[in-house]
Symmetry: C2
Subunit: 331 residues, 2 copies
């Protein structure tokens, strides 16, 4: 068994209280006893049990829970870095869990986080159903959403300008003369999915162009499905001369499909990625600072941790997007 505080106390011939105080840096411990305690700690390899401490002190596990939909997406790695940036400053650790874009699993995960009494939760919801993310049902653990505004619950959120970014990139395709533009999207049940679609439609309408449903596919869960969907669009008679892809998975899929079709279709997509400027076809991407999203989300959730009464603010922070044009002149 691991040594306990009492073991240290016995070894140092003091009371457990003196040990506790020493480890809490309480100034009211005589230097001599203090050093005896520290020597005992070293000799026994003692380590304070944080679970017990948490229980007594009545809170603060110093853990921040993060529920995301898909770790494999590099967007989330950046988000994680941003959250860690801020958590570190406060001596907090970050617990990750992957919902796999499944709301049931998401519910299970946040329940588990609440039972563990994590100090706060940052969630990227898998769908528009958010009842299970209400702090009221989660032992009052503060919740902040990322990439999606809350639906029928009252929490803060950090958002992207999904509509604006898509609108701008689609408009750029239109400005270059494209009149038939395909769309590879995300499920309409997600905020991101509906907003990006809305941006696409608005840009077309602003230019007096009609949305053609035969050029629209909205549910590709992985790259292979995106390739297939893009092929289906490009194989039609009188195919579009450009495609907008609503996230990195779809952009990659579309890229592969376009390349295998001769590479003459223009492509724009949401989410920047590492190699966007090294590809062998031109590309427009909607870029944003994913790390900043994490940082802001962590700040917001820590604000609620410090000041539990401030729950019902429901703030929204919108992170701007920037359209980047990679000409990628075939060398």
């Amino acid at each position: 068994m691991n040594p306990t505080m009492r073991d240290v106390a016995d070894y140092a011939r003091v009371s457990p209280m003196t040990v506790s105080r020493t480890l809490r840096d309480d100034p009211s411990v005589a230097p001599e006893k203090r050093s005896r305690v520290l020597a005992a700690v070293a000799a026994l390899g003692y380590r304070r049990n944080e679970a017990a401490r948490t229980l007594r002190v009545g809170g603060s596990t110093k853990l921040l829970g993060v529920v995301i939909t898909n770790i494999a997406n590099p967007f989330y790695a950046q988000l994680a870095l941003g959250i860690e940036d801020h958590a570190d400053k406060r001596g907090m650790r970050v617990v990750f869990a992957n919902s796999g874009e499944n709301t049931d699993r998401e519910r299970q995960l946040v329940q588990d986080f609440a039972a563990r009494r994590l100090d706060g939760i940052i969630a990227v919801p898998a769908a528009n159903q958010h009842d299970h993310l209400d702090p009221a049902g989660l032992a009052a653990v503060p919740v902040v959403l990322a990439a999606s505004p809350p639906h029928r619950i009252n929490v803060d959120a950090v958002l992207l300008d999904d509509f604006g970014g898509t609108y701008e990139a689609t408009s750029m395709l239109i400005a270059r003369g494209h009149r038939n533009i395909g769309f590879l999207g995300l499920p309409a049940a997600t905020w991101t999915g509906s907003e990006r679609y809305r941006g696409y439609v608005a840009a077309l309408e602003a230019a007096g162009l009609a949305v053609q449903d035969r050029f629209v596919r909205r549910n590709q869960p992985h790259v292979a499905a995106a390739v297939e969907a893009a092929n289906a669009i490009l194989d039609q008679p009188d195919p579009p001369t450009a495609v907008f892809a609503a996230n990195n998975r779809n952009t990659i899929g579309a890229y592969r499909a376009i390349r295998s079709h001769g590479g003459t279709t223009a492509l724009a997509g949401f989410d920047d990625f590492d190699f966007a400027d090294l590809l062998d076809l031109p590309l427009i991407v909607v870029s944003y600072d994913a790390r900043e999203i994490g940082r802001v989300a962590a700040e917001l959730v820590c604000g609620h941790i410090d000041n539990p009464s401030s729950s019902p603010l429901a703030r929204r922070v919108v992170i701007p997007t920037k359209v980047i044009d990679y000409p990628n002149a075939a060398s």
Copy 2:
């Protein structure tokens, strides 16, 4: 304050013990009281305090700690997925922390994990100094290393065939007629760094070629530094006709440098990545199943959790590598 078990007991007019038993699915609770308890739980929004439970039961936080060097590297996202695959099966959660390739921070993180009494730790060490990763100094929390064998401590490890993969890829460059081959590596103080360099040297020597130090750079912490190092190699008189890059960061850096030098230098690198087949220059990569590394590491650490006596096995599992040739014919 959150409701406690006593509150539930009062509400349901039973003793706390009956509530505890009900929530533990103990069969010896009469159906009628059982349903009264469940009703009270629902009415009060009660949630069992896992910290208290852990304290009493004396262990099992059901948390697995993962210390990695750099979350932004997609390799770790796959590793994380593999770990989660296995952890999930056992109802465990995963706590992540980023050491930033800093051994002091790594020490601090594992100490913190031990103090929290996590059930196990999986670490990708930042350097060859492993004393702080010895379970003996960590409240006997089982430790498994990934991507590096233990140095002077006695723990299991999941390894990559760093030497073999590098040897094979370098040999492929030689087989294609290259005689001067540059090397962009990792710090010699890391296992991965020294093994991959060893593989490079061995392949050259097996072909009767000499290692030329002027073509070797071994410490690029990020892509920008890798670009610079690659430029420095390529700008020399009589430059190499091929380069081997020891990880994805260096491969990307080398790729950018080669491209800006006209794209005539051949390139091979360790780590596959998403767009390797979509670039506009040919490329050879050493590929492996990163997710499998995580899965195996989780299995090993769970083995020790189940059977704490089996500590001193010091098993090694080696995950094979596969060389992939992306011709990337400029379309």
